[in-house]
């Protein structure tokens, strides 16, 4: 507790305690100001949903007076909203399952086998980090049409998973590589096959990295817009982002309703984020450091 961090660097004029206090005060001020800028839009949506459009027009920055719950309750009891939550969840789970399963399988030999062309293969996968889905979207659309996958969950999940493969492998490979070879030797001596080693030792030990790639895939899929927009033309199979986008045009006159719909659709993402914050942040910084 006695260790000061950066504060050794104080000049002789003022003591480092004063200096530390000053810089902390500055940090708090700046930090809180930015936090306010971040929070205002989110609060505007959340609180705006409790107002009427008339209230909003009269005083955009005011608090609800009286509090109106009908916007939220109408949406929370509508089957369209829950259908979209369901579709988004289904597609995100499918995407995550595919990308993590295939990515982990592929990362295993790329990390721990010695074979010719290994680095070339790895490079081929990493190149995918540079390919935006928008470049490939026209042909993907036509392929999905020919495969009768338009308007299906799989039609969204497969391309999303394919575009998630590069980052999954890039995160998993160094992680799997760093697991000591002695464990592998010991497993082999005990009669464990390579696949057994992968399944029973490597995967459990890679759990932190697997969590990170799962979260990235899930959030990426959950937030996806362009691909679902093109693939899912039938409103009954829409995801939540499509629902929000459509709701805002459909009820463009009724700001409060849009705010309530948008506010409710924020909830799953924010709840998920609060649960997984450490993982997301840790994973991202880990990936960048590696």
């Amino acid at each position: 507790m006695t260790r000061q961090m950066v504060d050794y660097a104080s000049g002789p004029a003022i003591g480092y305690r004063t200096r530390a206090r000053l810089s902390r005060a500055l940090a708090y001020t700046a930090g809180l100001m930015i936090a306010a800028l971040v929070l205002v839009p989110i609060l505007y949506v959340a609180l705006g949903g409790f107002r009427t459009t008339g209230q909003l027009a009269a005083d955009p920055a005011g608090l609800p007076d009286p509090w109106v719950t009908s916007n939220y309750t109408e949406i929370a009891t509508s089957s369209a909203f829950w259908g979209q939550v369901g579709t988004s969840t289904l597609i995100a789970v499918l995407t995550t399952a595919i990308v993590v399963a295939l990515g982990a399988l592929a990362a295993f030999p790329l990390a721990r086998f010695e074979f010719r062309g290994r680095e070339t293969l790895y490079l081929l996968f990493t190149l995918g980090l540079l390919f935006p889905i928008s470049v490939a979207i026209l042909p993907i659309y036509l392929m999905l049409r020919d495969l009768y996958l338009l308007d299906t969950a799989l039609g969204v999940a497969l391309p999303q998973a394919a575009f998630g493969i590069p980052v999954t492998i890039v995160i998993l490979r160094p992680f799997m590589r760093a697991i000591p070879g002695e464990l592998e030797d010991a497993a082999a001596i005990d009669g464990c096959s390579k696949f057994g080693f992968f399944l029973r030792i490597l995967l459990p030990l890679s759990r932190p990295a697997l969590m990170t790639v799962s979260i990235l895939a899930f959030v990426g899929s959950w937030n996806g817009f362009l691909l679902p927009l093109l693939v899912l033309s039938d409103p009954s199979s829409w995801t939540l982002p499509l629902g929000v986008a459509n709701y805002s045009t459909q009820y463009s006159e009724d700001t409060a309703r849009i705010l309530a719909f948008t506010g409710l659709s924020m909830l799953p993402a924010l709840a998920f984020f609060l649960l997984a914050e450490r993982r997301i942040v840790g994973g991202l910084s880990g990936a960048v450091k590696g």
């Binding site: 050794y8 839009p41 705006g48 790329l110 540079l130 659309y141 590589r177 659709s265 914050e277 450091k289």
Partner: protein, 332 residues
């Protein structure tokens, strides 16, 4: 948890002894060919599924886009009207598309300059022991988790004339600054940049904070003992050591700015009068709204080539230093 990732490559993977390995390796023995075929089969069992999916939905479509771009095609009928590079010529001659490229360029430059400076400054400020830092970090990161659609709709409503933004500006006496945020062709791109910054600045701050925390405290203490002032320490020690993180963030930011689509599409559709078009919104408009699949594909290929060349150049000239282990800037 990032420890194993950090130590990546620290050790070479050991080759496990195959149970059926024969002694005298290297000599062409009868079983060798069969063994290597078995090995190839084993590897492809592991890598194959991912590779198939990746080739099918990533590489093949990009190849197909190149192919379609040589045709005049509406995406429905047979692909017969070969027109060579006409689509490319048309795109590069089109002022609207050239404007879109410029807009992407402006967003790239603004993102690096402003988000970079603000992000680094805030990370430096927040990188000290203070109560509530974890909570602040979480708050900053929240917009990054919200979908582009939610962000777009939220800001769309806040930026309405006499909406929340205008009201707040008036409340703090800055009413003169009010513009038609999304309807004025000379303002809309910068409005979009503010929204982009709101959504992505947290990502920069979190990365920079993580980078700062990886800097050994001993170095900073040593500098202090040697009599370095605070500014000097930041300039000579902290920033150079943060270099790799900054350069990776800049890379992600550049690629993201070049591929900007969702926010713009929902908030302005590239308008008014194409003033906020990006390459991607232009491409989707021509390809899917006007059914010019051949032309849209040519635009997609140009977008791809620009991203790719920028990425390669960046890799070659900027990131290379990190792989060579050079920590200090301006060394030569």
């Amino acid at each position: 948890m990032s420890q194993p990732v950090l130590s990546a490559g620290a050790r070479q993977p050991t080759e496990p002894v195959p149970s059926d390995a024969a002694p005298g390796r290297g000599s062409p023995q009868p079983g060798a060919a069969r063994r290597s075929a078995r090995r190839a089969a084993e590897i492809s069992l592991y890598v194959g599924p991912a590779l198939i999916l990746y080739v099918l939905f990533v590489l093949l479509p990009i190849g197909l886009a190149v192919y379609y771009s040589l045709y005049k095609w509406n995406g429905l009928g047979p692909l017969t009207e070969f027109i060579g590079f006409d689509n490319y010529r048309r795109a590069l001659d089109d002022e609207v598309f050239r404007g879109a490229i410029t807009h992407n360029g402006i967003i790239v430059v603004l993102s690096i300059a402003i988000q970079g400076l603000v992000g680094i400054g805030l990370a430096l400020l927040l990188n000290q022991r203070m109560r509530g830092r974890a909570a602040l970090r979480a708050v900053y990161f929240a917009p990054y988790i919200l979908s582009e659609v939610v962000t777009a709709v939220t800001w769309l409503l806040m930026l309405q004339p006499d909406g929340l933004v205008d009201t707040l500006l008036r409340a703090v006496g800055l009413g003169d600054l009010i513009e038609l945020w999304l309807a004025d062709t000379s303002v809309v791109l910068y409005t979009m940049f503010v929204v982009i910054t709101w959504k992505y600045i947290g990502f920069a701050i979190i990365l920079f904070l993580a980078g700062l925390q990886a800097i050994p405290q001993e170095l900073i203490e040593a500098a202090a003992i040697d009599g370095a002032g605070r500014i000097q320490t930041i300039r000579r020690i902290t920033l150079p050591l943060l270099g790799p993180t900054i350069r990776i963030w800049a890379f992600l930011s550049i690629i993201g700015s070049l591929q900007l689509f969702d926010l713009i599409w929902i908030m302005t559709l590239g308008g008014p009068a194409n003033a906020s078009n990006t390459m991607a919104t232009y491409m989707i408009d021509r390809g899917f709204q006007r059914y010019e699949f051949g032309y849209g594909s040519a635009v997609a290929v140009i977008l791809f080539v620009i991203s790719f060349v920028v990425a390669l150049a960046y890799q070659r000239f900027v990131l290379r230093r990190d792989t060579e282990g050079a920590l200090t800037r301006n060394v030569r």
